[in-house]
Amino acid sequence: MANSWYRYASPASFHPVALRLAPVFALAAAILAIAGLYVGFVVAPTDATQGEAYRIIYVHVPTAWMAMFVYLVMAFWSALALGFNTRLSAMMAQALAPTGAIMAALALWTGAFWGRPTWGTYWAWDARMTSTLILLFLYFGVMALRGAIDDPRRADRACAILTLVGAVNVPIIYFSVRWWNTLHQGASVSLTAAPTMAKTMLAGMLLMTFAAWAWCIAAALWRVCAIVVERERGASWLAPDPALKGVT
């Protein structure tokens, strides 16, 4: 049983699987996003205090969650890459960084557009916002570090260490609104308490969350396929396959 899973740690056997799974997740993301946007912008009622401005929640919250979650997944692959010295784990971590950076950037951007009409400011240096900005810079840092090192195996190790060091930021983001006084409000949805949102609003937000989740998986799988092809270009399994030549 375990052996059959280890098989997919090899880029050669993982590549075709990833290439087949990516469009499935992309399609799921499209369907979920259409459903989520419909529920969020047509079905869900306006908010009593914030009016229509609250609807930014349908993009802001899913992207903010994914920005944190993608980083944790990246840290997980980095730990495996350092511990087992596997190439594919490092490639997965490499493939996730741009996706996470996009999510963090979207969360900050939509947050600014939400903050202006509700709080009265685009940006404030409160703990939640500052730590999310640091998360974005961590993604940029990991990507820049990889670009700065020519030898991919050395780059894998350096990026893995940086990713793991930065992982400490994720719980800080999550708990910042509880540990300190912040301008950002507390969590509406958490694992420990009932959500403080109307049911249709919550449904729309969860649909958008699953859409963001599926999109991140699809994007990461496609990117990891490209990385595999790029880094294994000399390998025997890749070169003589005429079908793959058409893809790349």
């Binding site: 009622p45 306006t46 908010d47 009593a48 205090t49 914030q50 609250y54 929640i57 730990a79 350092l82 511990g83 087992f84 010295n85 009409p117 509700t118 709080w119 009265g120 400011t121 404030a124 240096w125 409160d126 703990a127 793991l164 060091v165 992982a167 400490v168 800080i172 540990w179 300190w180 006084n181 912040t182 301008l183 409000q185 507390g186 969590a187 509406s188 403080t196 949102m197 109307a198 609003m201």
Partner: protein, 150 residues
Amino acid sequence: MKSRHRRFAWIIAGLVAIGVAVALVLNAFNSNLVFFYSPSQVLANEAPVGRPFRIGGMVEQGSLQREKDSLTVRFVVTDTAKAMTVVYTGLLPDLFKEGKGVVAQGTLGKDGVFRASEVLAKHDENYMPPEAAAAIEQAHKGGRMQSSGK
């Protein structure tokens, strides 16, 4: 111990060490990490002296006064235990309302009045349609009248 196990042990030890270091740093800088102070904290002299800071809390019901022919407003910020008067000249954010959260940046005068240079509205984590909010308001009305009577 296999070398792989040793590597994982190093990774875990490293993460724990970083976690402890960051926890100590955050603890040391605690006062710089709070975005605002509550009126109770300010009156207990926990707020920084000699530089601007922010106070946060609820705008007390019925405390908002607008000066005639100017943009100057006065209101009381309360954390239900202690309260503090704030004076501000400028436009208030749309969500600024009595009974709602507010964060004001400025300096504390010798007279105990906080002169704000910026006022931000702080909304809570509750999202509900207007009808539900009206129903809750209705249900609370009896209780609120009693409390405002004292």
